[in-house]
Symmetry: C2
Subunit: 307 residues, 2 copies
């Protein structure tokens, strides 16, 4: 637990002794502000909690970093300190979304790279496939590119070029283009896109889900309805919330920064206690399944062939 | 009604005489296939129903075209025949979405232009503002750019450049960047993005809405549940469908191709009868409110100042 001791102490003193005995506080002098410009934050990162935590991973004193801080600074500092794997140009932010087929879909990039070359999209496909195998447990995951149509001629140049490479990469089960409406349909196990589109898509999906969950709450505009109607309203809400619970964004908090020589998890800045615990679990899983090592192995097997 | 008479006749013969007397069938020899590559379709468009319909508008014999056909071909042919307004580089596809504040949000571009210059984004902002005023009835519509963060430094170059221009355009009430989760929040009246992002975003939203609506249907896995549970399930479904009905994609079918010297409405290819009627209503509204003429006027007032 890296941070300013004065800020951490009040929370720790309220915690169980058994918990405290398993925690070590590493003091940091500063904290990178959430609204800092990443380039500026990185230049002035010495002594900051984020940098110290990443250095612990670099030196092998910690196995993973979980941070709810400045996304741009975390990506920049992690890339600087932990270095990309061989064959990776830039790391990608990835998450595992629930889908309609009661399985899960790996989606990347979610915003680490606003513009992506076709080579980067291919690298994302490889990394996503490893994650789907190791974390979701799908033996030969299907990989698709997010596009605005399913025909070959559709979309941007980098997407069409990545499709051409993936088609001739036997180690990847590439199934073609999918559109936005298939984000949760489960038609693919891995969905690849650039960071701008991925970020907007994920946030759109979360916005609609949260709106539905809020609309399901009993309407506040009929306070004088009969007691049994109000009771029924609450009953309906519970029933529906149960059916939609797995779509609640809190359930899949924590995007993994994939492609580095270490495990870095980015939690949503507004995560509550439960959501942050999910992000920590993701870090544990990534370390246990040796995700960085497995990606490095797969890259060696796949990427030379695509040149 | 332009098309192959043999294909139209069976439907017309079943219709009321009062309806038939208001319809005129204009014969076309061919139909542009849905899966045709747009460039190829346009080169071979002579005699096709789509081209003849657009030529009727060009000659002033019809006031608007509504088509559920090949999107790329419709955009290309419409631009070729009806020409962009002065000050418009390329037309944009626009729709009017319901939002959480019980108002409506104008969103563009939805896929007419996969890549957009900053000048095009500014033109979209002007066209969207006119539509929000004339169709939604908002006197001074707020205009936002879709981005991956609200800070000024975020996003792609073309978006940042468009923001700089919009900020100094007094005729536009530019309120800054919004993220994907604000698509339906009603924080803005006009949301501007490039056609790739807009298409993916809209389809993601529709996919999630349709998934929710399908999840609200009574579960089919409990056929032996008590009659009153099944009755309650249907009651809940009706109640919730009523609350969410305005979000059903059928309710806002029909994207307007904005920026041309004529009115062109693109219906969803899979639109049902009700959804197609909505698209026709949109065409009527666009003609009645003289949308192309009003956009031309606004462009004259706004665009020179931003140069």
């Amino acid at each position: 637990m890296v941070g300013q001791p004065d800020a951490i102490a009040p929370y720790l003193s309220a915690a169980d002794a058994s918990l405290r005995s398993r925690l070590r506080v590493v003091a940091a002098e500063t904290v990178i502000p959430n609204d800092a410009k990443p380039s500026h934050a990185i230049r002035n990162s010495r002594g900051s909690s984020m940098r110290i935590a990443l250095e612990l991973v670099k030196r092998g004193e910690a196995q993973a970093v979980v941070s709810a801080g400045n996304t741009g600074a975390l990506m920049g500092l992690a890339t600087l300190l932990l270095k990309p794997l061989e064959g990776i140009d830039r790391p990608a932010l990835v998450t595992v979304l629930p889908n309609q087929r009661k399985s899960k879909t790996v989606v990347l990039d979610l915003g680490a790279n606003v513009a992506c070359s076709s080579a980067m999209l291919v690298q994302f496909a490889v990394m996503g496939a490893v994650l789907a195998e190791e974390i979701v447990g799908i033996p030969a995951p299907r990989v698709a590119l997010l596009n605005i149509g399913e025909e070959e001629c559709k979309g941007l140049d980098n997407i069409r070029e990545a499709a051409a490479v993936l088609k001739t990469t036997p180690a990847i089960d590439y199934i073609g283009y999918l559109e936005g409406n298939d984000l949760l349909s489960g038609k693919t196990d891995v969905l690849v896109c650039d960071g701008f589109v991925g970020n907007v898509t994920l946030k759109t999906m979360e916005g609609v889900v949260r709106m539905f969950l809020s609309l399901l709450k009993p309407a506040g505009d009929k306070p004088r309805s009969a007691w049994w109607l109000r009771w029924l309203g609450r009953w309906i809400q519970k029933r529906v919330a149960k059916r939609f619970g797995h779509l609640n964004p809190d359930q899949y908090n924590g995007a993994c920064l994939l492609g580095l020589r270490g495990t870095v998890i980015k939690s949503h800045g507004a995560a509550n206690q439960r959501a942050f615990a999910v992000a920590i679990q993701q870090a544990v899983q990534a370390v246990q399944r040796q995700i960085p090592e497995r990606i490095a192995l797969r890259l060696k097997a796949v990427l030379p062939k695509s040149d």
